[in-house]
Subunit: 421 residues, 4 copies
């Protein structure tokens, strides 16, 4: 570990919560170099919805590589890309009635967000983006401007502008009617809100604390955008690809965003890949106006294609996720009930779940105690007040329950030493 301390920047983060050296991984388990197994309920921050090193995806990947199929093709045409596009159209877009064009904006989620923001501004000729409290969209300068976290914003070193922040669903505990503030600003030519190009929203804020937007709230937001000629961007990087059950997290609300960002689990195997989807009429890009070296990383498309074929040809996978999500929620409610004096409560949708505590420090302690017991979870929320669960969607019920049992123990250990506020 001394190697890391000597050579790797202080910016490294997760390694501080999990002070071991990982080596192998399979399904919902990772193993450190001493062979110690860990149940992984973080899943690459949602990048491993089909588990680590999913065997079927692996087979397609290794075959592709072994056969010397093209790995890096910039944005030239390739067989792997065609397969992916066709499969994505057949399995994802068509059944959902979505007439989206697909952009490969670069390998990371922030590339998808940057492309979405650029396109929204270019298409509308406007500059302001409406974002929401505790939103998280990435670390590059455009994406960071629409991200709420003050520590991360402080890293920019320059002011982050062209953004107007609105309250996320239930931000003010129901003490204000939804969208009253945004609607007031939009209707009032003296409000100081320059007409927005777009809103960017997550349906469930993962980094922000597993804050769930209700279907009703999303529909109202969608209606409001349409009413005022504002584009709606759903950032589905963490909640898409089945995390909440359906392939897209916004399906439940019955809305059709103008622009959608995907990344994390879109390749299915942890390979860097991202997509920006948008309605056909928004495709006003000039050729090459947004480019980048790793837009055409074919192995990611190969595993991505395979994942779509394996998991998304019918809705059984989505249903299974929803069922598992209910099971997890129910068990978490029991755990929360044990810690009412710390204002413990459960959040989430599908297999994005959180155990929130009203008191600072508890969730961090729960995560630390879980690690000690062989379970990887992380915290989220502005004060790290939520213990966050993003298990692989392929995790068995047994493993889910085993992990939750560890968490229950960890919560007891964490609260034992704490004093209720």
């Amino acid at each position: 570990m001394e190697t890391f301390e000597r050579l790797e920047s202080e910016v490294r983060g997760y390694c501080r919560s999990w002070p071991t050296v990982f080596d192998r991984a399979s399904g919902s388990r990772v193993y450190d170099e001493n062979g110690r197994p860990y149940l992984d309920f973080f899943a690459g921050a949602g990048s491993l919805n089909y588990g680590h090193n999913n065997p079927e995806l692996k087979a397609s990947l290794v075959e592709y590589l072994t056969d010397d199929r093209i790995v890096h093709s910039l944005d030239a045409y390739s067989v792997a890309k065609r397969d992916f596009l066709k499969t994505f159209e057949e399995i994802v877009l068509k059944p959902r009635g979505l007439d989206y064009k697909v952009q490969f904006p670069g390998p990371a989620g922030n590339n998808a967000v940057e492309a979405a923001l650029k396109l929204a501004r270019k298409y509308t000729g406007r500059e302001t983006i409406v974002n929401f409290t505790n939103g998280f969209h990435g670390m590059t300068l455009g994406a960071l401007a629409v991200t709420g976290n003050s520590m991360k914003r402080g890293g920019a070193g320059v002011p982050l502008g062209h953004v107007a922040t609105m309250p996320f669903d239930n931000y003010m505990d129901g003490r204000t009617p939804d969208f009253l503030w945004l609607r007031s600003l939009l209707e009032d030519s003296g409000s100081g809100l320059d007409k927005p190009a777009a809103v960017i929203v997550e349906t469930v804020q993962g980094e922000g604390g597993i804050n769930v937007a209700s279907a009703q709230w999303l529909r109202e937001l969608s209606d409001l955008c349409r009413e005022y000629g504002i584009l709606m961007i759903v950032d589905d990087i963490q909640m898409g690809c089945g995390r909440t059950g359906d392939f897209f997290s916004f399906e439940e609300a019955g809305i059709t965003p103008d622009i959608v960002t995907l990344s994390k689990s879109i390749s299915g195997y942890g390979l860097p890949m991202a997509l920006t989807l948008f309605k056909r009429e928004l495709d006003v890009w000039e050729p090459g106006e947004h480019n980048g070296t790793f837009r055409g990383f074919n192995p990611a498309m190969v595993t991505g294609t395979e994942a779509l074929r394996r998991y998304w040809t019918d809705n059984s996978f989505a249903e299974a996720t929803k069922a598992k999500g209910e099971m997890v929620a129910s068990r978490l409610e029991e755990i929360a009930a044990e810690h009412a004096e710390f204002d413990a409560h459960v959040r989430g949708r599908g297999l994005a779940r959180g155990l929130a505590f009203g008191q600072a420090g508890i969730a961090k302690a729960v995560a630390a105690e879980s690690y000690e017991r062989g379970l990887l979870i992380e915290t989220s929320g502005p004060e790290d007040e939520v213990a966050k669960l993003l298990p692989p969607l392929t995790t068995s019920d047994e493993d889910l329950l085993a992990g939750l049992d560890i968490m229950a123990e960890a919560a007891r250990a964490a609260t034992k030493v704490a004093q209720p506020a």
Copy 2:
């Protein structure tokens, strides 16, 4: 191809120059789905310095995947990362006397640039970055602000600020002493130049037109930065990893930048990976202050480690590249001599070479004619006035000469139909 037109955004670019569907690749050759081979002198825009699907790197990659070693580990510690760091230290840093910390800023070059700019601003508490005419650093908003290309800048949809642009080496044809303008501004408290945090510079501008900064110019820039307390960032994403001969392109000048960005060929296999290197004392990052999902893509570290071991334990590879570069330059000079009436001339260093034409459109035609004859090259420069060659460094002399023969023919075909201006 209809699939792409129906589904992929108009932003797609390279596919327009090479209207075929690629499928396989090996070394310096790619094959389309009909089995037609192409000599690839573009090499993933410099991402494939060791050739497509380099067999030794491939072996290490396939073995890693087959053994279910961990693929995606965010920025947790992993055996693969430790191997990479140690190898990078032993083979790259130590022999060059570089005491750099290493940041894994995300999978793409723009992530490395964004991290470099953020760190420079955070460390100095200043905002302005000095960039150079025709610099290219990426498409995310921070990186785009220091990029010169007006079409790409226009895609931002918001003003791009906190930047002051200076003339790159020889920008004004020697009619102005080097750094006279920058030095004048720095020395004059009334100049309007807010004190810069850093300069960001490429030693050879790849996208900008294969413009070469002389070692002398780079040294003067380095001295000037030290004199005024400004950090020097060398963006070595395209020119590093041996493209100009030495591992870092700035070695020839004998300078030590404060911050260095690497990407493209750092994984050696076209796998998305990027690094930001900086002097130890600059490591003022807070844990997690810059993060991202694909910072810990282990397969890229595995192939990256293997590439360092295979090619960089001594300077034979660098010497071979330089020799090949001279050979290419010499042959290009012959070609240029045939087209003096179109003001043809040769640019470049190592195996980054360009055949520039004084007249618009010729270089584009040369690239198109080359494609027809089975050679992939691209153009660069603000008016696409340069036919650009970035062959894999592992390309054999025979293949280099074969490719140049094609280019010679292509140039003849291209100029035959054109009228000298």
Copy 3:
């Protein structure tokens, strides 16, 4: 009038509402070049609180000029400036327990605002200013950024940033607890609100539609600023100098702003003059860090001194204004009651009063009909939905009632032709 159309820019405004050429003025009356008198209930948008060409102020002005006392002294010391400062200290600051330093930032209100914003940013080292919906602070780029009006913002031609807009008192009709939104953002490190340097607020929004902030709301804002270490700027340019009764409009609320801007009536005679006042400890300016040619326009200080001596040595003038304000409000209520079908209602405090209509266009018509009948009033509010009254504070009760009678007639004429919505 043809001269104006030929030579003066289309930007001219008030002349369009009052299409005549004014020539003389005295007290509450102005006369056009044909000798036609008008009752002036606009008073230079609040610049003529002591009436046009107030005879006592005029005497001091003419004497000063006649005696060849210095007119223009930049910011050198002058006898007139010393007299002003001493008088301002004795009559305004000391009795109110205000330990303010005085800056002469330039001749216009926007200079006072720009200086206030600069100082707040410099002192705190932060950039964001919190402003309020429908605030109006001026047309220079810094002041415009904190101004709400979309048409005026559009004139900037560049994005206006470093600002976060909050709801003014009662903006959302009481459907949200006061400051719930701002407090939520300040308390939440993930809210995306970069810590503000200052808030800037008017106690009564003149241009914004005669929107009155309650004393309670102002106190809570002041407390919240103190709690979070944010400076409070009261822009008292239009509402200060007795417009609401007390010299400063914030006295009623019992608060002490960190920074106060004054202009308009501070010279008392319509002479350009502005002040930025701030707590002694905020005086971190470097000598000359903010400068300007017309900071030392002595005649304005002479009339300003005289005005303080004549009107502000005791509170009789303030009391008289309040009494007149009540009388005006009461008469306006009667007028409003006649037009309930157009949702007419009365707003304001002291002698800043407005007759607002729920239906667009009525207030404009009232102003036009008033002009026809010899009364000058203007409209305000984002949709010009408020007929706004800012009579000289020296207007006699008879003249006030005469003007209100005209307004009553004008309102009848205006509503006669309109259809209730």
Copy 4:
């Protein structure tokens, strides 16, 4: 003086160079409260081209005030404004063939600059303004962004953007062809210079150090603007109204700027007033899109009208100024020759002249010694390296020579204690 120290902000500036309290003024002389006279060769930083309290202007002003003519009329029509516009057209515009519209943008020079920048951006739909090294245009945020002085820029507290700075005439001592840099950037689509809306330039930089742009340089700049469709703004606030001889300082060059700003001496009496002039086709303002309280300060128009009538009906005044300018320059050359060891040299045009020293501190000492001897001059330039003379244009030859004699003595005293570098 204790009053000022106790009550006036530390931002006060000129009073530190001239530590006395002024009281009366007449022509080229001001008197402090003890009756001590000073020759004023600073003239309100160029605001008093016709001398302090010019008797003919004073007569018109006192008469206007005595007769209760309207003082403050916002931007309503007034007899005084019509007189001014007609006179300005007849005496200034028509004889010079200038078809300008006139905007009254507010009372200060910065208002004129802010309006000019807004209009240029609005008209062109572009954002970038090209400014020049050591330019000075004012302290409001838009004007400050195009101002070079780093101390004053630092006061902004926010980054100042949308600007690209170019070298002023002879900035690099003739070592670079004029406009090579700007032209290169404009011609190169990869230069990073976003197409500018306008350039803003002073013909002689007063604050910047009495740097003179040659007529040839100005013509080339004008041609280059026309060639590239960029508007040319001449900021004639300090150098207009006859300071260099002709009414506009750009007349000598034979150019017609698209936009011109005037202030300082336009009222002729030190009364706050400013104008923005622009070609008729640029008048795309919406009514009221730029407004402000003190746009209609009639007394300033009255004295401004009188000044035009007295001094500008023929070219005798311009010729006299030029002759005096030559006399001053000639005498300054003699003084400079005495101090060659301090690299003394003379700059300027008309009655804007400077005695520059190569060594820091000398000019400051010259100004201080001059003050001791009863002469008011100031320094300018980024390092205060220039003793700057802006005497009233009405100063008699005797007074000019008397002042220069004082300066000669002061220079001897200043250099006596200094060591050549």
